[in-house]
Amino acid sequence: MNMTTALARLLIFPGLLFAIPGAWFILWVERKAVALMQGRIGPPFMQPFFDFIKLLGKDTPPREGIGGMLMKAWPLIAVSAAAGAVGLLPVLPSSGGFEGDLILLLALLEVPSMCIIAAGFSSRSIFGEIGSAREAVLSVSYNIVFLLAILSIAASQHTFSLETLAQLPASPLRWLGVLALLICLPAKLHLNPFSLPNAEQEIYSGPMTEYAGPELAMWELSHGLEWVAATGLVATLAAPHVTFGWLAILIFVAFSFGIVLMLSAVASATARLAIDTTVRFYWQVTLIFAVLAISSALFMRFRS
């Protein structure tokens, strides 16, 4: 991948120019879907866009010293990392890529939640700290499943290149991996039943409590981009591969849309779990998944 295509991917497609409206669209779809399931009409189209613009126009909280600088920096880091993660998605066929971009994508996807943890602790509010502690516990518990899933997919098809993975036909083990990824997504995106770090009824807005104005707008954006990247990753792994450009984009968007609807449905049909129940849940999933992965790997080995 040369410099021009890399920049084009990062900035235009599927990077920022595509991903930001995509993020707003997904945020709207999620809110609208939840509203419809609750028998309401829900927010108008473009609501996340208006929220974003309005937040940009609000006064910025005064921040002083290194702590203040860091507090300003966290949302920006989160946004750039999430945008980078979106840029790595091989939406267009033969769009280039490199061996190991899956690892980079994973690392970038992890950055926003690290930033949230750091932001909560540097906000020095008790609610921010509790929210961060919860986010940390949550990310430790779901990430094991998440990484296991990705690793088994990559190992079963002998590549760490997303591009190659997208072109290969799906194996049963990959479906298992995709299922495990889907189980992790609600926790990664702070959705019910795992919406612990931002549990409004317990700890205000958690790590975001002290954020306001443009900084909050950045957090909203990074959250939206995380949605795009995470659903995009699953869509890439699950969608059938086509060589025709526009059709590829259409399939990608349709799959992402489907995943968003599914996650919203789950979120609106469940109550929030407590932290220990959540951790137990993910450890159980890990155990089941590990057993399944090992047994299917052994099975494949014996067959070959």
């Binding site: 809110r31 309401r40 009409i41 927010p43 609501q47 309005k54 126009g57 609000k58 006064d59 909280p61």
Partner: protein, 182 residues
């Protein structure tokens, strides 16, 4: 007014985020505020969102006749909301202290402490009246952004039938008196 300002005004009107505070209210207005977010009234159609932190909010919704204990907290929360911001006084209590007038444990009305932009009368106001008041406050926010001028407080019209204490009896329960004497 350039394009960016126009967009900003429009966005402010379309995205009012609320923070709700109870200044010693009887609960009636608070429940009606919650009811305005639920399927029958669904304020989210206007982009309304009830926020957990005052830092995120644009509009401060205050109910109740402002007790001594609440005054300090109300001022602190008012300062925590970043501008541009608006204050909506929900119900007759924050406007006049309603039936609790003359109580020595009250420090109302609300505009003694912080500037109020919209008064929504009623005891309590109906959810549709509350939504109307919030929409008006969002309009005021947009205006304030374009003109940078303080806007005079607006008193919303009374919505719905029945007095419910919002009439001019001055909180003395005079309306009930009239009914019995008539």
């Amino acid at each position: 007014m350039n394009l960016w300002n126009k967009l900003m005004c429009y966005s402010r009107r379309r995205s009012p985020w609320l923070f709700h505070m109870n200044g010693g209210s009887c609960n009636g207005c608070d429940i009606e505020l919650i009811a305005s977010l639920t399927p029958r009234y669904d304020a989210e159609q206007l982009g309304v969102r009830l926020e957990g932190s005052p830092r995120h909010a644009d509009i401060l919704c205050i109910t109740g006749p402002i007790t001594h204990n609440a005054v300090g907290a109300i001022k602190v929360v008012y300062d925590q909301v970043f501008g541009p911001k608006a204050v909506v006084a929900i119900g007759s209590c924050p406007a006049t202290t309603n039936v609790f007038i003359e109580s020595r444990t009250l420090d109302g009305p609300l505009n003694k402490h912080i500037p109020v932009d919209v008064f929504v009368p009623g005891c309590p106001p109906r959810p549709d009246a509350i939504i109307q008041g919030v929409a008006k406050a969002a309009e005021i926010l947009a205006e304030r952004a374009s003109k940078k001028l303080p806007v005079a407080p607006v008193v919303m019209p009374l919505v719905g039938e029945g007095c419910g204490g919002a009439c001019a009896c001055g909180g003395s329960g005079g309306c009930a008196t009239k009914e019995v004497q008539a």
